[in-house]
């Protein structure tokens, strides 16, 4: 779908910070609050804006350390439905956070979160590998997140500028 310049700008602003009030966004793009609200609602209805979420560093929360793994999955595509059917069978599991179809050495990239490594081992051996179309899996555990979705995790608000300058 083709978007207006203002709609594009609103998307960019929300992608950066989805907690800004409509009032603030309206001022930033020089529109009335009603117009801005209308545009956001339209973008939500059209599923251009899919969801609003929060980036959380769970490592900082006691008892929520968790484990994340990226699994490279090779599959046999099915006639008529290609990769779609197997992707759907995988993403229906709640513990699966993302499923991407990839170019290159494997077909699907699956990102999964669990509480422990054995949770993930269990999922891979019992749920994923046993699917008919799955030929092979390679599991990579994430050891540390440095930067996620454009956000650097351990970076304070350190403005290095002098307080007043000409």
């Amino acid at each position: 779908m083709k978007l207006s310049e203002k709609e594009m700008e609103i998307l960019e602003i929300l992608e950066e910070d989805s907690r800004l009030s409509v009032d603030t966004i309206a001022k930033m793009v020089c529109l009335s609050v009603e117009e801005t609200e209308g545009m956001i609602q339209k973008l939500e209805k059209e599923k251009v804006i899919v969801d609003y979420s929060t980036t959380i560093d769970w490592k900082k929360v006691d008892g929520h350390e968790g484990v994340t793994a990226m699994i490279d999955v090779k599959v046999t595509p099915k006639r008529g439905v290609g990769f779609h059917e197997v992707a759907e069978r995988i993403y229906r599991f709640d513990e699966v956070k993302s499923v991407y179809l990839m170019s290159g050495a494997y077909d699907l990239s699956v990102i999964i979160e669990g509480r422990t490594m054995s949770d993930i081992a269990h999922f891979v051996s019992e749920k994923l590998s046993t699917l008919d179309s799955v030929i092979s899996t390679t599991t990579h555990f994430i050891l540390k997140k440095y930067k996620h979705d454009g956000v650097v995790f351990e970076q304070g608000d350190n403005d290095k500028r002098i307080v007043v300058s000409p």
Binding site: M28, C30, R161, V163, S165, P166
Partner: protein
Amino acid sequence: MKTKEQYISTKVQTLKPSGIRKFDLAASMEGVISLGVGEPDFVTPWHMREASILSLEQGYTAYTANAGLKELREEISTYLEKRFSVSYRAEDEILVTVGASQALDLAFRAILNEGDEVLIPEPCFVSYDSLVSLAGGVPVHVQTSGDTGFQIDIDRLKEALSEKTKAIVLCSPSNPTGAVLSKAALKQIADLAEEHDLIVIADEIYAELTYDQSFISFASLPKMRERTILISGFSKGFAMTGWRLGYIAADSYFLHAMLKIHQYSVMCAPAMAQFAALEALQNGLAEVEKMRKSYRQRRNYFVESLNEIGLHCHNPGGAFYAFPSIQQTSMSSEQFAEALLLEEKVAVVPGSVFGPSGEGYIRCSYASSLDHLQEAIKRMDKFMKKMSTS
């Protein structure tokens, strides 16, 4: 035996210290939101920093040509042509300097004889007066007014002319007002310069940061190229203030004179900074566009919010300053800035620092995160409400 005072030249003794420094108080306080910063809040994009690091790794630690790296001058020449339609030869019409500040210093020293007058529309950047004085010239202020959005009034310029007038300084977009000179005003100034044979020092350091219309470089006006000394740099548009890298573009007879001073006083601008600037021009214009967009959004938010809380503010077309009026409070701008800092911990710069026409205004930089701007507006709103009930 001389007194200690006599050790210092009388010229320097009479030089006024920058009024902005008085607000160093803000640095010692906790929890201050500073809108007093005259520089971008972006860190120089990584690939530019990386280019500089690479130059060090490769051992480019020697002097460059006096006028700057040839490749850099070539890039500046191409950039000026493409971006602002002004043509300057890389060989003898471009000089890379230590910030636009050194460029200004060179320009005044190259053109002024003792007693020559320089017209300086104010409120203006704090250095002009002192640099003109140090070069032996006499700064002549030309007032502008908030009622006309700080556009230059051609009649006032004419009134300020004398037989000794040698040059005029233009700063558009303006620090501190954010005003961008209209095409009509530029044309009038060009006619005046032509008629009275004035040199125009065009401080275009904020040229990349205009938000409502594309920037017109003064030298691009008919017949103005030969009487304009174009001053710009990487500090503001490319977020490179600490690198201290600016440049001058001017006809070769001006450039030759300035190069003479430059080669004796600084030899050349730092090599490592020149390599970062080279990368900035070759691969950094998309980032400049991104930063411009971000400033525009913050300007829109901030200026409208100021007006909402009763700090009337013209819409600044460029730079990253809002310059609202505080006249309804019956405080001087210095009193206002001090009270706002002490009571609500928001640092702004009193307009009077930038010249008499700045009295009754404050300079607020919106080159600060949106979170900070929102918090600053909240605090200023509280301050204004207190003022109106007391």
